[in-house]
Amino acid sequence: MSATETKTTAKAAGKVRVLVGKPGLDGHDRGAKVIARALRDAGFEVIYTGLHQTPEMIINAAVDEDVHVIGLSILSGAHNALVPDVIAGVKKAGLTDALFLVGGIIPDEDIPLLKKAGVHMVFTPGATLTAVVDYIHQNAPKRA
C-alpha cells in the first residue's frame, strides 16, 4: 500500500491524524518513537517527522497531512524558541483547530509561557502512554 493510499484509507475511516515532530537539533528520539508507536497501537494515524526539523519543516508536514494533533518532543532546552514558531506557522497556514502537545524536559516555569503560545498540554518525564492517548481521545478536534 502506498503512502497516499494509507492516508486516504485513514481519512475515510475517520482516523485522528497525529504528527509527532522533533524540532531543533537534539537527537533524543527515544520518547518520540515510543509515543509514536503507542499512538499507532491506539488506533491513531501517526506521522513521525524524523529528527532535526526546523519549524518550517514541521509546519509544512502538518499542513500537507492535514493533521488534527501536533506533538512536539524537545529535550534540548530550545522549546521557548521553537514551539511558538511552529504554532504560529500552523495556525497561519489554516489549521486553526489543531491540538498542540509538547513532551520532554520542560522546566515548570516555562509551562505557562508555552500555554500562552498555544500549547494545550505539556507532558513531562514520567507521563504515561495511557495519559497521552486518553488526552488525545478527549481533546482532538472533530472535523467533518
Binding site: 531543533g24 537539533l25 533524543h28 527515544r30 515510543v34 524524523g50 529528527l51 522549546h79 524558541a81 521553537l82
Partner: protein, 558 residues
C-alpha cells in the same frame, strides 16, 4: 562421593525443603528478572558453574592479565582510584571554564567537556539552525578563540581532558591540540580522550552531519594522526552509554559497542596501520544502570570479550591492545523528575556497580539532571558520592570482590554469550557499518525501548515515585540552572568580531586546503589543524564537509 556430587545431592535435598517452605510462604507473584528482562535464578551453586564448563584460569584469571575479567590493573584501586570525571559544559566558554576550575579545586581529577547542540551538529552560534540552542546543553564553541578561553589557566600537561563530541570531533580535536601547542605542552604530554564514536550516533544519539562511510573515514583520520603524533591521546571512546540511554538492553549495549569497536579496528587496518600501533589508545564508555548484578556482569564480560577478540581475531600482541579501559556514567534515563532527591540514591547504587565492575573512570549524574543542567550544589553531591564510596565504603580496597561468585560468574557468562550472538549476526551482515545502513541496531533498540515502556505501564517494572509510591508534590523543591538567552547574542557578537579580525587571506588559503583534501580523500587532520589556527569556524569547516559529502538523512521510522 566426591565434593561435586555432594553439592548436587545437598542441593536436591535443599530444593525439596524449599518447596515445602514455599507452600507456606510462596514467592511474590512477579517475574524475577533483571532490568533488561533476563530471568535470574533464586540461587546459584558450584554445580551451575560446573555445568557451564567454568574454568577459573581461562575465564577469569588474575587482574591485570588476560582476559582481564577481574580488571585491567593488577592492584586496581589500591594503586590508583578511578578517575572522578564530572561532565560539564554550559553557556559560554568563560562560564564553563569557571565550572572546570571549581571541580578541580574540589578534588576532581580530570575534565570532561559537554558541547552544546549547535557545536555537536556543526553549526556556529549565528546559524538560523542554532536558534534557542546556544549554550543550552553544553558549551558553545565556534572557533579556536572559544577553545582557548575554555581551557584558559588549566595546564593541559597536568590534567587529562575528555571531550564529548562526535560528528565534528576532528575539528574540535585539532582546536584542542592547537591550544596545547600555544601553552607549550609537548605532544607526548597531551593526554585525554575524544569521544569521536560516530557509529553510535547513527545507532542511538543521532547527532550526525555527513553519511556513515565518509564520517568513519574522519574517525580513522584521527586514529592515524594521533597514533603518530600524540601517542598518549585516546582517539576514540567507543560508547555504549547513548545506546543504552536510547533504550537498549545491557546485552545490546555491550554487543553494539563492541561491534562498533571492531568496525574502527577494521578501518584502521585498511589504512595499513598495525593493530598494536593504535588499539592501546582505543577506550570505552559504558552506562551504569539500576540493575546492580547485571551491570557488574556487563563490565566483566566486556573486558573478556574485547581481550579475546583483539588477541584471537586481530592477533594483537601488545597486552595494552587487549585491555578494555573504560569510563562509565550513571544512567541519566533512570533519574526521575518526581521526588528528585531519590536520584541521589539511584546514582549511589549505580556508581557502586560501576566501581565493583572495575570501571577506570566515572561520572556520577546530578539529582537534577532530568530537569535541567545541574547546579553547582547538585554537582557537588554527585562528586561527593564517588568520594564517599572511594574513601569510606571500603570497596576500593579489594579487586573484583564478586569474582568467583557462582551467580556473578554465571551471569557474566550469559551476558557474554548473548552479546557474542549479536556480534555474530552483525558480522554476518558485513559488520556494523552495513548493519547500521540496514537499520538493524536502530530497530532492535526501538523494540527494547517500547517493551520496557510497556512494562512500566503495566507496573511489571517499577520506577519509585513514578509508577509506584507516588506522592503528591508541591512545586518543585530544588533549584535548577537557567541559561540566559544573552549567551546566544554574545556568541554571535564574538563571531562577527572574529570574522572581521582574522586574516582573510590566511583563512581562505587554509580553507582551500581542507576542501581539496576532502575531495582527494587524504587525511584531513593536518589541513584542519592549519585551518583552525587561521581561525576558521566550526561551521565553515563542517559546511565544507557537507559540500563534499552531502548530509546524512534518516528515514523517520518508528
Amino acid at each position: 562421593m566426591n565434593s561435586d556430587e555432594g553439592v548436587k545431592k545437598a542441593r536436591t535435598d535443599w530444593e525439596t525443603r524449599l518447596s515445602e517452605n514455599e507452600k507456606k510462604s510462596p514467592p511474590r507473584p512477579v517475574r524475577f528478572t533483571t532490568l533488561s528482562d533476563m530471568e535470574v535464578p533464586l540461587l546459584s551453586t558450584p554445580d551451575d558453574l560446573k555445568a557451564e564448563g567454568f574454568d577459573y584460569l581461562r575465564d577469569v584469571g588474575f587482574p591485570g592479565e588476560y582476559p582481564f575479567t577481574r580488571g585491567v590493573q593488577r592492584n586496581m584501586y589500591r594503586g590508583k582510584l578511578w578517575t572522578m570525571r564530572q561532565f560539564a559544559g554550559f553557556a559560554s566558554a568563560k562560564e564553563t571554564n569557571q565550572r572546570f576550575k571549581l571541580l578541580l579545586a574540589q578534588g576532581q581529577t580530570g575534565l570532561s567537556t559537554a558541547f552544546d547542540m549547535p557545536t555537536l551538529m556543526g553549526y556556529d552560534a549565528d546559524s538560523p539552525r542554532s536558534k534557542g540552542e546556544v549554550g543550552k546543553c553544553g558549551v558553545a564553541v565556534s572557533s579556536l578563540v572559544d577553545m582557548e578561553e575554555l581551557y584558559a589557566g588549566i595546564p593541559l600537561d597536568k590534567i587529562t581532558t575528555s571531550m564529548t563530541i562526535n560528528a565534528p570531533a576532528i575539528i574540535i580535536l585539532m582546536m584542542y591540540f592547537a591550544v596545547a601547542e600555544k601553552q607549550g605542552v609537548p605532544r607526548d604530554k597531551v593526554r585525554g580522550t575524544l569521544q569521536n564514536d560516530i557509529l553510535k550516533e547513527y545507532i542511538a544519539q543521532k547527532e550526525w552531519i555527513i553519511p556513515v562511510r565518509p564520517a568513519v573515514e574522519l574517525v580513522t583520520d584521527t586514529i592515524e594522526y594521533s597514533s603518530k603524533h600524540y601517542p598518549n591521546w585516546n582517539s576514540v571512546s567507543i560508547s555504549g552509554y547513548h545506546i543504552r540511554e536510547a533504550g537498549a538492553t545491557a546485552v545490546q549495549e555491550l554487543a553494539f559497542t563492541i561491534a562498533d569497536g571492531l568496525a574502527y579496528v577494521d578501518e584502521a587496518l585498511k589504512r595499513g596501520l598495525k593493530v598494536d600501533e593504535f588499539a592501546p589508545r582505543l577506550s570505552f564508555f559504558f552506562d551504569v544502570h539500576n540493575d546492580f548484578f547485571e551491570e557488574i556482569a556487563k563490565f566483566r564480560a566486556a573486558r573478556r570479550i574485547w581481550a579475546k577478540l583483539m588477541r584471537e581475531r586481530y592477533q594483537a600482541k601488545d597486552p595494552k591492545s587487549w585491555m578494555l579501559r573504560t569510563h562509565a556514567q550513571t544512567a541519566g534515563v533512570s533519574l526521575t523528575a518526581q521526588q528528585p532527591y531519590n536520584n541521589i540514591v539511584r546514582v549511589a547504587v549505580q556508581a557502586m556497580a560501576g566501581i565493583l565492575g572495575g570501571t577506570n573512570s566515572l561520572h556520577t549524574n546530578s539529582m537534577d539532571e532530568t530537569l535541567a543542567l545541574p547546579t553547582d550544589e547538585a554537582v557537588m553531591i554527585a562528586l561527593r558520592t564517588q568520594q564517599i564510596i572511594a574513601e569510606e565504603s571500603g570497596v576500593a580496597n579489594v579487586v573484583d570482590p564478586f569474582g568467583g561468585s557462582y551467580f556473578m560468574e554465571s551471569l557474566t557468562n550469559r551476558v557474554e554469550r548473548e552479546a557474542l550472538e549479536y556480534i555474530r549476526k552483525i558480522d554476518e551482515m558485513g559488520g556494523m557499518i552495513a548493519a547500521i545502513e540496514r537499520g538493524f541496531p536502530q530497530a532492535e533498540i526501538a523494540n527494547s525501548a517500547y517493551h520496557y515502556q510497556r512494562q512500566l505501564e503495566t507496573k511489571e517494572k517499577v520506577m519509585v515515585g513514578v509508577n509506584k509510591y507516588q506522592a503528591e508534590e508541591k512545586k518543585r523543591t530544588i533549584d535548577t540552572l537557567y541559561i540566559d538567552r544573552a549567551v546566544e547574542k554574545n556568541q554571535i557578537q564574538r563571531l562577527v568580531e572574529l570574522k572581521k579580525s582574522r586574516s582573510a587571506a590566511a583563512h581562505a588559503e587554509a580553507m582551500r586546503h581542507v576542501h581539496e583534501g576532502a575531495k582527494d580523500g587524504i587525511n584531513l587532520c593536518g589541513p584542519i589543524f592549519e585551518a583552525v589556527k587561521a581561525f576558521a569556524t566550526l561551521q565553515e569547516l563542517c559546511d565544507t564537509l557537507r559540500a563534499v559529502h552531502g548530509e546524512y538523512r534518516e528515514a523517520g521510522s518508528f
